[in-house]
C-alpha cells in the first residue's frame, strides 16, 4: 500500500484507455478522484458504475470516456443526466458506447468479478428487451434442472476507485453506511485506489464491519470531503441543493463547459474546488 497525494496516485495508476470503476451507491462517491482524472485529462476510458451519477456526467461531458457500463443513468431524485444523454443522443462531445444492465445484473457481474468467476448468474432479464440491447446478457442451463438462468460476464475493472470514511496507518480501509457494491468492485479490480476522509490511529471497526485489508489496497490518498457533493456517513450529508442545481448546469453544453473549466480545471486540488464553489455561492 502506497500513501500519496491524490494527484500523484491518479497520475501513477490511471491511464488512458483503461476500464475504471468509481463505485459508491449514492453514498461515498469518489468525486475528488473523478475531478482529478478530469484535471489530468485522461482519455478513452471505459467507465463502469451502477449509477453514473454527476461524476460520470462530468467525465463524459468533458470527453474522457469512450464507453460506459451502467445500470441506472439518472440524476437521483432529480431527473436526467444531461451530459450522458447528449453523448448517447447526439454523440457529443464524442460517441459513447454503452453496455447496459439492470442493477441485479450488474451486482451479479461485480460479484463474479470479485470471485474471479467468468460470469455471474441471476434470475432476471426475462421477457425484456435488455438482452437485445446488451448482447453480453446471455443464458445457461442449470446442470441439475435444465432451467434457463441469465448470465452476465464478470466485471473486472483495471482500476477501482473508492472513497471511504477512514484508513488506519497500515492502510486498512473501513467503510460504513450504505455500501452498495463497493466491496465487490474493490475485490474485482486489478488496482484499488481509495481516497479517505481521514487517516486514523485505529479504525475501531466492529466485528463484521466492511474492512478492506491493506494488502489488497494499491494506494490511498487522504482527501477530506472527497465525496462531496455526495455524502460520507458520519462526516457530512449529501448536498441535495447541488444535485438540483446540476440539472440546470448540465443542460447546456456551454454552461457545463464553463462550470468544469472554472471549478474543476482551474482549481489545483479538491480543497480549491470547494473554495471556488463557495466563492460562487
Amino acid at each position: 500500500m502506497q500513501l500519496g497525494s491524490l494527484q500523484e496516485v491518479i497520475d501513477q495508476y490511471i491511464h488512458n484507455g483503461q476500464s475504471i470503476a468509481l463505485e459508491g451507491f449514492t453514498h461515498l462517491i469518489p468525486f475528488a478522484a473523478g475531478h482529478e482524472i478530469l484535471r489530468q485529462k485522461k482519455r478513452d476510458l471505459h467507465l463502469i458504475r451502477m449509477t453514473p451519477d454527476l461524476i460520470y456526467d462530468q467525465l463524459i461531458g468533458a470527453g474522457c470516456a469512450r464507453a460506459l457500463t451502467f445500470s441506472w443513468g439518472g440524476n437521483p431524485g432529480v431527473g436526467s443526466l444531461h451530459r450522458l444523454r447528449d453523448a448517447v443522443e447526439n454523440d457529443w462531445p464524442r460517441p459513447l458506447s454503452i453496455h447496459e444492465h439492470s442493477h441485479a445484473g450488474m451486482a451479479a457481474a461485480y460479484s463474479a468479478g470479485a470471485a474471479r468467476l467468468p460470469f455471474g448468474m441471476l434470475r432476471g432479464y426475462v421477457a425484456t428487451d435488455l438482452p437485445g440491447a446488451n448482447p453480453q446478457v446471455r443464458e445457461v442451463r442449470c446442470p441439475y434442472t435444465n432451467a434457463a438462468i441469465a448470465t452476465v460476464p464478470a466485471i473486472n475493472p483495471d482500476v477501482t476507485v473508492l472513497h471511504a470514511q477512514a484508513a488506519d496507518r497500515q492502510g486498512n480501509i473501513f467503510i460504513r453506511g450504505i455500501v452498495g457494491a463497493q466491496k465487490e468492485a474493490a475485490l474485482a479490480a486489478s488496482t484499488l485506489i481509495v481516497t479517505v476522509e481521514e487517516i486514523v490511529e485505529s479504525l475501531a471497526a466492529p466485528i463484521n464491519a466492511i474492512v478492506l485489508p491493506h494488502w489488497i489496497v494499491t494506494a490511498i490518498a487522504e482527501v477530506p470531503t472527497g465525496a462531496y457533493p455526495s455524502y460520507a456517513h458520519g462526516y457530512y450529508a449529501r448536498d441535495n441543493a447541488f444535485y438540483l442545481a446540476w440539472d440546470e448546469i448540465a443542460r447546456d453544453r456551454e454552461r457545463f463547459t464553463d462550470w468544469i473549466t472554472r471549478h474543476v480545471l482551474c482549481s489545483r486540488d479538491h480543497a480549491e474546488f470547494l473554495d471556488s464553489l463557495a466563492e460562487a455561492a
Binding site: 443522443e89 421477457a127 490511529e201
Partner: protein, 281 residues
C-alpha cells in the same frame, strides 16, 4: 409547490394518485420501493394505516423509517433509520430474488395494455429521441415481487399501444404467458394513475379500468389511453382523500422540501469522530 396551500376540501390529481396507491398497502406488507410517487405512497401508508409495514429500498436499507422522503435511493436518512443495511448484491439476491418481497412499487415512462413497462428510451435504442435513466432495479422487482403496483400519470404518451422498449415484464402478451415463462411473481395487480385505477382482467390479463376518481369521467380516462381501454362492468369511485391523509402527506412533503433545500455540506455537518483517534488533528 403550491399543493401545500391547498385546503383539505381540494386536492391535486397527484395527491389523489399517491393516496390511492398508499391505501393498497396492507399492514405488515414487505414493500420494495423506488424514488418518487412510490416512495411517497409507501411512506404515507407507513405513517397512516400500515405502521408495521416493512419498507425496503434497493440501496440495501431494510425496514427503514425515514422522517423525510429521500431525494436519492441511498440517502443517509434511510440507513440511519433502518433495521438493517445490507450490501447491494445481497438485497437483489438474498432478498428480492429469494421471493421475500410482497409488493414491488414501480413507476415508468410508458406502460402497455398488459402492464409491461418502459423506463429505458423513447424512440429507438441505438439513436433514442430521449434517453431515460434505464432499468435500475425495476426488471427484477417486476419479476420477483409477489405482486407489483405501478404508479404513473395517465396520458396517450404514457399509456401506449406499443412500448418503445420493454424494460420490465408485466403480463407480456397476456393470457397466462407470464406464468408459462416461469416468472415467479404475480405481476402488476394494480396500476394507479392520476385519473383512476386499472387491474388485470381474469383470463386475458389486459389492464381494465376498475375505478375512477371523483369528478373524472370514464370518457376522459379513455381519451388518456393510447389503446381501446377495457372498462369493468362495475365501475367504482375512489373515495376522496380524508383530511388526515392529506395532512400527513402534505406534512411529509413539506418536511422533505425543507430538508432538501438546504446546503447540507456546511449547515448539517455531523460530528467527526473523537479527536483522540486523529493522527493529523
Amino acid at each position: 409547490m403550491s399543493v401545500h396551500s391547498c385546503s383539505v376540501n381540494s386536492y391535486t390529481p397527484d395527491e389523489m394518485m399517491t393516496i390511492a396507491a398508499a391505501r393498497l398497502i396492507r399492514p405488515g406488507c414487505v414493500c420494495f420501493v423506488g424514488i418518487g410517487v412510490p416512495s411517497a405512497a409507501a411512506n404515507l401508508a407507513r405513517l397512516t394505516h400500515a405502521a408495521d409495514m416493512v419498507l425496503i429500498y434497493e440501496s440495501g436499507a431494510i425496514g427503514t423509517h425515514p422522517r423525510v422522503l429521500p431525494l436519492s435511493i441511498g440517502d443517509g436518512e434511510l440507513a440511519e433509520t433502518a433495521t438493517a443495511v445490507v450490501p447491494l448484491p445481497e438485497i437483489f439476491s438474498y432478498w428480492l430474488q429469494a421471493g421475500r418481497i410482497d409488493v414491488g412499487f414501480l413507476g415508468a415512462a410508458q406502460i402497455d395494455r398488459f402492464g409491461n413497462l418502459n423506463s429505458t428510451v423513447i424512440g429507438g435504442y441505438r439513436k433514442p429521441k430521449t434517453r431515460l435513466p434505464g432499468a435500475g432495479g425495476a426488471p427484477e422487482i417486476a419479476h420477483h415481487a409477489k405482486q407489483i403496483f405501478v404508479v404513473l400519470k395517465q396520458s396517450p404518451r404514457t399509456f401506449v399501444a406499443k412500448l418503445d422498449f420493454c424494460t420490465s415484464a408485466g403480463f407480456i402478451n397476456g393470457h397466462g404467458e407470464r406464468a408459462r415463462r416461469a416468472i415467479p411473481g404475480a405481476g402488476p395487480q394494480a396500476v394507479i394513475t392520476d385519473l383512476g385505477v386499472l387491474k388485470p382482467a381474469t383470463g386475458s390479463q389486459e389492464l381494465t379500468l376498475v375505478a375512477r376518481y371523483e369528478n373524472v369521467s370514464v370518457e376522459r380516462i379513455r381519451a388518456a389511453t393510447g389503446w381501446p381501454l377495457a372498462v369493468a362492468d362495475r365501475m367504482d369511485v375512489v373515495a376522496a382523500p380524508t383530511a388526515d391523509e392529506l395532512r400527513v402527506l402534505r406534512d411529509l412533503h413539506k418536511r422533505t422540501e425543507i430538508a432538501h433545500a438546504s446546503n447540507t455540506r456546511r449547515s448539517k455537518k455531523t460530528p467527526r469522530p473523537a479527536p483522540a483517534s486523529h493522527v493529523n488533528a
